[in-house]
């Protein structure tokens, strides 16, 4: 594996739940109103220490999007996805941004975060932040 190069962030950090490598800074948070198969999801401008998978077209509550799953560099877990392309005009603002699933990350501020699941939905869903 080699010595992993992991970028360290400062401030209030969201880290990978399994390996605790830093994923995103809270000042990059855009919205908390997103959902995924396992529950809540947050939209971020940039994330670090992830690698991007292949592009896929997925139908979401807001329409068709081209997304790519993102994996933690350290433990290879799927932690969310990246919006590559939004096919509807109203959704264009999401392009280039990242979704981190709430269930896969640990909030920097709280020790032992209280994770609770919302009802799981059969398809990937997301909603926009009005």
């Amino acid at each position: 594996m080699g010595k992993l190069y992991l970028i360290q962030l400062d401030g209030r950090i969201y880290s990978c739940k399994f390996c605790h490598s830093h994923l995103a800074n809270s000042d990059q948070l855009v919205s908390r109103q997103f959902h995924c198969r396992h529950g809540k999801a947050y939209l971020f401008n940039t994330v670090v220490n992830v690698s991007v998978g292949p592009h896929e077209d997925r139908r979401m509550t807001t329409g068709l999007h081209t997304v790519a799953d993102i994996f933690c560099n350290c433990c290879q877990q799927i932690v969310g996805w990246k919006y590559e392309l939004a096919h509807e005009l109203a959704q264009k603002y999401k392009e280039g941004k990242f979704i981190l699933e709430r269930a896969k990350v640990v909030d920097g501020d709280s020790n032992g975060s209280t994770d609770y699941y919302l009802d799981s939905q059969p398809v990937h869903s997301d909603t926009e932040d009005v």
Binding site: M1, G2, K3, L4, Y5
Partner: protein
């Protein structure tokens, strides 16, 4: 053909004869020339517009003169004189010869007046030259004790020149020097005699136009220039010996660069993350994820064996640093402690610990008694060998340190702070310079001469920065081609004169570039996993080593003959291993069956 015997042959004919019959002097021309008048009587063929060389760039007159000078300086007086006669070109005009003799003979007043007769000089030059001569006269007079005459020179000859008045004042103060020794010391003067006069001549020569007095060793200088150009054009140049052959243009072949695996070292039980040769090239230290570091001994070019296995770390060892005299080794655990080992005995002398020690790398000071360590706890500590913390740099402005290095001469401390910043701290002037990179930096190394630094970026580029460069807008020199996305990949300088850049890569190959022109010279396969680190033997330009995730270290050397004809297994020392592409060759051999 023989000379003409009548006086009135057309001038043209005479000229032609003179050119062709260089050996036999035509009867008309006077047999013996007093040296000095020769150029006047014969300013025909050898001067004026004749050029040599295929581009017509070399003037024959100048060429002959510098050859004459070279002959004189090599000590071949007679040959030089004969050359002057034969070619009719003398090294220096008679005025200059007279001038030189006067200076060396101490006849300074005459030399000043001769100076005026030398080819037309600018008034400034004339004044500066006169100043130098008169200064020498002054000093010699003082030295011989004739203070009154010295003062007279100062007043009547030096001051009226009205240049360099500060120096005149200085000279005045030396009049009262009590002893000759003190005078010599203050003036930085060797004393009256040939030495100081020769030095005076050198200084004068720099003032006078070069065509009047040719600078010393001119031919040597020109040949040196040509050789330097050849050497720089030779991109594979990689040898210890400095002298180049004059008989043919210098061009090294590709076989001067190590491209063949000579040995595979498998003592580690897990990924090898770091390795480095000692400064004297006799040892190699490697650090591995198997929690140990190994000191290897370099016995021969193709034979390296284990000397000591250093155990004691509780985390993977990610960094090692040799002390400047190679007697001690520091090892860093991966965000863990730093341990100091004695190379001769293999024992751990000390463990350096801080609460929650998170050291990532360390570097020695050139005195070998102190070292710095940097880590993720955002502090740089300076330690002595007993374990005492001498100093610490920390604070709000200090971010996480990923890598740290000190140049060989101890003037600069370079650190990688906060992923993207390179901070170069000049320890003498206490000035810091920050270079901000656009992409995160994974590793750092500095050149042997302490002038350049090399960083590997996550964006698959290697950047070369000049440490002394002050310009804020300067751009680094870039090397590309290798793969690096996720892991810490290291690169290094290497080869004779550190003319090459070597790097590991995530595609299991070793990449080699020419440092000067950035050309990717070699891509060397062989490893079965990411090549994490490379190190070139500082003493042997034909050996380098690479460390990989496949648990092995490979020692690379020159390939003596093309791999195809040699067959698959290398013959050295009975060590059974397959060399570059050896597997492929084996398979090819089996295919016909």
């Amino acid at each position: 053909m023989g000379g003409d015997d009548c006086d009135g042959p057309p001038p043209l004919k005479r000229m032609k004869l003179s050119i062709s019959a260089t050996k036999s002097i035509p009867v008309e021309a006077s047999p013996v020339y007093p040296t000095g008048l020769a150029p006047m009587a014969r300013d025909l063929p050898s001067s004026d517009g004749e050029t040599l060389g295929c581009k017509g760039q070399i003037r024959k007159l100048e060429f002959v003169r510098i050859i004459t000078q070279a002959l004189f300086s090599l000590g071949f007086q007679k040959t030089a004189n004969v050359l002057e006669e034969e070619s009719g070109v003398s090294l220096q005009s008679p005025v200059i010869t007279q001038f030189r003799n006067e200076i060396m003979g101490g006849k300074f007043d005459e030399s000043v007046s001769t100076l005026r007769k030398v080819a037309p000089l600018e008034p400034e030059t004339l004044k500066s030259a006169s100043f130098l001569i008169l200064q020498q006269k002054f000093l010699e007079l003082l030295d011989s004790g004739d203070t009154l005459a010295a003062l007279k020179t100062l007043r009547t000859e030096l001051s009226p020149l009205q240049i360099n008045t500060q120096r005149v004042h200085e000279l005045a103060t030396w009049v009262i020097c009590p002893s000759k020794e003190e005078l010599k010391e203050k003036a930085e003067w060797e004393g009256a005699g040939l030495d100081s006069r020769a030095r005076l001549l050198e200084e004068l020569q720099e003032l006078l136009p070069p065509s009047v007095m040719i600078p010393e060793k001119r031919l040597e200088h020109l040949v040196d220039q040509a050789l330097t150009v050849q050497r720089e054009a030779c991109i594979f140049h990689n040898s210890l010996d400095n002298a180049l052959c004059l008989y043919s243009d210098h061009r090294c072949g590709r076989d001067k660069i190590p491209t063949k695996t000579l040995q595979v070292l498998s003592a580690h039980e897990d990924e090898v993350w770091f390795l480095q040769f000692s400064h004297d090239g006799k040892y190699l230290a490697s650090a591995s994820k198997d929690l140990s570091a190994i000191i290897w001994e370099v016995v021969r070019d193709d034979y390296v064996r284990v000397k000591y296995t250093l155990k004691g770390h509780t985390k993977a060892v990610s960094f090692v640093a040799w002390s400047p005299d190679d007697t001690m080794l520091l090892t860093c655990g991966n965000e863990e402690v730093v341990k100091l080992w004695d190379v001769q005995s293999g024992e751990c002398k000390h463990t350096f610990n801080k609460q929650n020690s998170n050291f990532s790398s360390c570097a020695w000071f050139p005195d070998g008694k102190r070292f710095v360590s940097g880590g993720t706890d955002k502090c740089i500590y300076i330690w002595d060998l007993e374990g005492k913390e001498i100093d610490v740099w920390k604070g709000a402005r200090m971010p996480r340190i990923n890598d740290i290095a000190i140049t060989r001469d101890g003037t600069h401390l370079v650190s990688i702070c906060g992923d993207k910043d390179i901070r170069i701290y000049n320890m003498e002037l206490k000035v810091e310079r920050v270079i901000e990179e656009e992409k995160p930096i994974t590793s750092l190394s500095v050149s042997k001469d302490g002038r350049y630094l090399l960083v590997n970026l996550v964006s698959q580029e290697i950047h070369l920065w000049d440490i002394f460069e002050d310009d804020k807008t300067s751009k680094p020199f870039k090397y590309k081609g290798h793969r690096q996305e996720r892991y810490v990949i290291r690169s290094c300088f290497g080869g004779s004169d550190q003319a090459f850049i070597l790097s590991g890569s995530e595609d299991s190959q070793v990449y080699l570039w020419h440092r000067g022109n950035g050309e990717l010279l070699e891509v060397l396969p062989g490893h079965a996993g990411t090549v994490n680190c490379v190190s070139w033997n500082p003493v042997n330009p034909h050996m380098f080593a690479s460390a990989s995730d496949d648990h092995t270290i490979r020692i690379w050397g020159l390939s003596k003959s093309p791999p195809r004809s040699k067959g698959s297994c290398s013959s050295n020392g009975g060590v059974d291993h397959l060399v570059n592409g050896g597997t492929r060759e084996l398979m090819e051999k089996l295919r016909p069956f």
